[in-house]
Amino acid sequence: MILFDRVSKIYASQNRPALDAVSLEIEKGEFIFLVGPSGSGKSTFLRLVLREERPTSGQVWVAGKELSKLSNWKIPGLRRQIGTVFQDFRLLPNKTVAENVAFALEVIGKPKSHIKRVVPEVLEVVGLEGKELRRPDELSGGEQQRVAIARAFVNRPMILIADEPTGNLDPGTSADIMKLLDRINQLGTTVVMSTHDSNIVDQMRRRVIELDGGHLVRDQSRGVYGYAQ
């Protein structure tokens, strides 16, 4: 599903690589934790999957396509197959919960009848039924992140990318969000999630990929957060 082949990324303003010759493969249906200290290259890794950045060297393959060979007008098609969730939710403050989710479908030209059908469905999956008409500022942080997940998942993407999705949430709410991401993973979506939250990683016991200073230092199935704890 995702294949990195000796991928390096050096940002124009930097001389130290943000990613240094990283090679790994992620299979369809896996749940991946991406861990490592701040600045180790986790967000860079995720942005490369989305083709928001291009590698300085090496190849990134997503869903059978080598991204550097993907022409510009095909990038939207790639991103329709990838859902994204961020620490800061990225909701539109002047739209309701239902409108925020519908927005993702409207802007890719889905018909109204389709939107009317799938938006309530996905809001039920994330447990927001009854809150369709609230605005983001009338929701708790956890609920806002559920809206963001609903928006990322409404297209039933093959891959869900989550960059520190629980970074702004308290432990209890984080656990709920993790249950939701686990459920989405069970529905067949590959989930790649970066996090600093050791409790979550230790509880879930999924594959852990650790980066440090741009190097891949650990790739462990059913791993824990810290190395030698």
């Binding site: 989305l50 510009n72 007008w73 990038i75 939207p76 098609g77 790639l78 991103r79 329709r80 197959q81 990838i82 994204t84 990225r90 539109l92 927005f103 993702a104 409207e106 802007v107 890719i108 030209g109 889905k110 018909p111 109204k112 928006r151 297209n155």
Partner: protein
């Protein structure tokens, strides 16, 4: 493509940035209005040239007794000279289209008729006006041929081309039209700069939306379309205002004010207005659309 969704995005975009929208509309209206006006002046010059060049003549004034031009040597033209000039003119056909002979008496009568209500008519005596040949040319621009053949010949006091007087006048009008066009062009440049800036502000103030659109895989076309339509809409409204101004100019300023006061010439017709109006509209929309398109390419990248 969801038309209602795009339409609601466009209208909310326009309202959110109302002052900018108004600024764009007004600038487009003013610059296109000037552009239209300069085109109208141009059409007017063409109309007047057609009208006047058709009427102008070359006048060959013959010597009267006491003329101090060297070719006259103080004597009136003789019959032999007069006949010679006439037959030489005839030999210049077909360039020379028509020849009228105007005697001193004819000249006096015409003068009295032309200045009937003016005191100068009384101050001119019977013999004071020279006799002349009035020549109409098939090609008014070939005046030089006639001038070089007749100027300075014995019995001819002066060869006069009305067209030269008109040309001065048309050069003046042409200059005015050029100035109007230059002002219009600089206003159009201002318009482009304003639209570029408006698009930048709009793209910046909606970076949250466009960022989400990019992430969920909206195409560039879909992301940029609302912005392009907003620019085109403002430009369209501005163009309609400018065209309205042009129509008012034709209906009121030209037809009601200028035409009655200057009956000796003709003015541009509605056909000119109907030719200029679509041009203004197209120029306005293209200008806005292209400047928006190139700005957005820079600010809303995939």
């Amino acid at each position: 493509m969801r038309a209602t969704f795009v339409a609601s995005e466009v209208s909310s975009g326009l309202r959110r940035n109302l002052t900018m929208t108004l600024a764009v509309i007004i600038t487009v209206a003013v610059s296109l209005g000037l552009f239209g006006a300069s085109m109208l002046v141009r059409a007017q010059v063409t109309t007047m040239k057609d009208f006047w060049y058709d009427k102008v003549e070359v006048s060959i004034f013959l010597c009267s007794k006491g003329s101090d031009t060297p070719s006259c040597s103080g004597e009136a033209v003789t019959q032999a000279q007069r006949d010679q000039i006439k037959s030489d003119l005839e030999s210049l056909r077909p360039l020379v289209q028509e020849i009228f002979y105007e005697s001193k008496a004819d000249a006096y009568a015409r003068f009295q008729e032309q200045f009937k209500n003016s005191p100068i008519a009384d101050n001119v005596s019977q013999g004071a006006l020279p006799e002349s040949f009035r020549v109409k040319l098939s090609d008014p621009t070939s005046y030089e041929v006639v001038a070089s053949a007749f100027a300075g010949r014995p019995g001819i006091e002066q060869v006069n081309d009305q067209r030269q007087i008109l040309d001065k006048f048309f050069r003046l009008l042409g200059g005015l039209q050029l100035i109007a066009l230059l002002i219009a062009l600089s206003m159009l440049v201002v318009t482009v700069l304003l639209i570029v800036n408006t698009m930048r502000v709009a793209a910046f103030s909606r970076r949250r939306e466009t960022g989400i659109m990019r992430l969920v895989g909206a195409s560039n076309f879909y992301i940029q379309l609302p912005f392009l339509l907003e620019a085109a809409f403002s430009a369209g409204v501005g163009a309609v205002l400018a065209i309205f101004g042009l129509i008012v100019t034709k209906a009121v300023v030209i037809d009601q004010i200028l035409a009655p006061s200057f009956q000796f010439t003709s003015f541009v017709g509605w056909d000119a207005v109907f030719a200029i109006a679509p041009l203004m509209f197209v120029v306005g929309i293209l200008l806005a659309g292209l400047s928006a398109f190139f700005t957005l390419r820079k600010y809303l990248r995939v």
